[in-house]
Every structure is written in C-alpha cells, then in structure tokens.
Symmetry: C2
C-alpha cells in the first residue's frame, strides 16, 4: 500500500497523568516508541523511519506522534496512551501506510482510522523548501 | 538579528468562538494574515515568507501560526486572536526574527515572547530530509 517513506516522530517524553518522571524508559512515550520499534521490525516496514523526540511540547495529550514525508502535509496526533502500546503501535503503522499511499498526505476521511479522526493536534502544509 | 529565512504559516480558516463562517476574509485568521502581510511589507522583512493555510486542524486555539526553516525545529503556536491583529502581527514578526537568529530554532526561554511561552501547541524536530 505504501509507495513513499514516512518519518514517524514519537514523543518519548510523554507521560500519562500522574506518571512519575523516572524511569524515563517507562514513560508512556518511551513505551510506545519501543512497541513501535518492535512492531516495525516484526512487520518489516522498510518505508518507516522511527525518530524518538525529546518533547514535542504537546504534553496534555500523550502520547504525541508526527507523520512527515517531504512534499506532503505534516500531521501531529495525540492521545495514543489511551490504548496499550502494542495496539497504538499497530494503529500508527497502519496509519503510516495510509499516509504513504496518499500523494499529498491527506488520508481520505472514510479511510482514516478513528484514532486519527479524534486525535489530530495540528497539521502543516507541504514545505516550499 | 535574523540570519536565515523563516516561513510563517498562518491558518486563515481560524475563527474565534461564535464568529460566522462567512465572509471568510473577516475570520480572525484571515485578518491576522492581512495584518502580517501589511506589517511585513512596512517593515521590509525580506527574511520572512508568509504562507496562508486553509486549516491547520487546531481550531480550538485561534489563530494558529507555524514557524519553519529547513534544518531547524518547527513550531506551531496558537491563541493569537487574544490580541488585535496588528499587535499579534508585531509579536509574530518579532518572534520570527528571534527564531531566525536561533541556529536550531530554539529561542532561549528568557528571550521568548510571552505569547510563545503560553501559546505553544506542538513542535517537530529538524527533518532528516
């Protein structure tokens, strides 16, 4: 389904409400990143590049994730801690495939996973750069 | 102060609470874009490229604005309708100069205008692309 590589940014600093600061690798964001890394390896997802980010400045809607491909709209989504890391990772990889298949990054509404419909935080147009 | 060009994205679809859908050019976002265009021309701000955007999918924090330069962090801010378009435009152009002067786009906290401290919506790291 995918025809272009997708960078997936994952905020590894994200914590759910009341979650302690330490250990950092047990934060919701770090756990989602680990689950995504494992799922992408298991699936063999050569079109996906995972990038851990030390704070995406959203904070109130953990876990925050971004999708980016040069020449397409960039999207930021949140609320992925509402699910288990494994389930969220599966949704995110499926979404990345749909994003990759959309020439401009705009996934048709009917095909958009529920998590993306509800979780959008912001989007930016294709860069002129 | 600036040493690199900055693309400023302005969500021209943004409306304040209760603002009617039409006319589109009276929406808070469109008015801010017009004020920015006028202020940038008056200032002679050759380092700034203004890009109107038809919805940045934030909606709840009008007006939404993004700062982007290749190789730097990309920032999305909101709440610029809390001020007059002219005052918000001045703050945004000042912020763009500070963003341009920061090699990685990270404006030191003490120098950061209050509107940016309070209004951050999300950020993305420098693209690997």
């Amino acid at each position: 389904m995918s025809d272009q590589s997708v960078t997936i940014y994952v905020c590894t600093s994200c914590r759910t409400e009341g979650q302690p600061l330490e250990p950092r690798n047990e934060r919701a964001g770090a756990r989602l990143y680990a689950a995504l890394d494992e799922a992408a390896s298991a699936e063999g997802a050569p079109h996906v590049t995972l990038v851990p980010v030390d704070c995406m400045s959203v904070c109130k809607r953990p876990v925050t994730v971004g999708f980016s491909t040069p020449g397409k709209w960039t999207y930021v989504y949140g609320d992925f801690a509402k699910d288990t890391p494994e389930a969220a990772a599966a949704t995110i990889l499926d979404s990345a495939s749909r994003f990759a298949a959309a020439p401009d990054g705009l996934i048709p509404w009917k095909e958009r996973p529920e998590a993306l419909k509800r979780g959008v935080i912001a989007r930016l147009p294709p860069s002129a750069a």
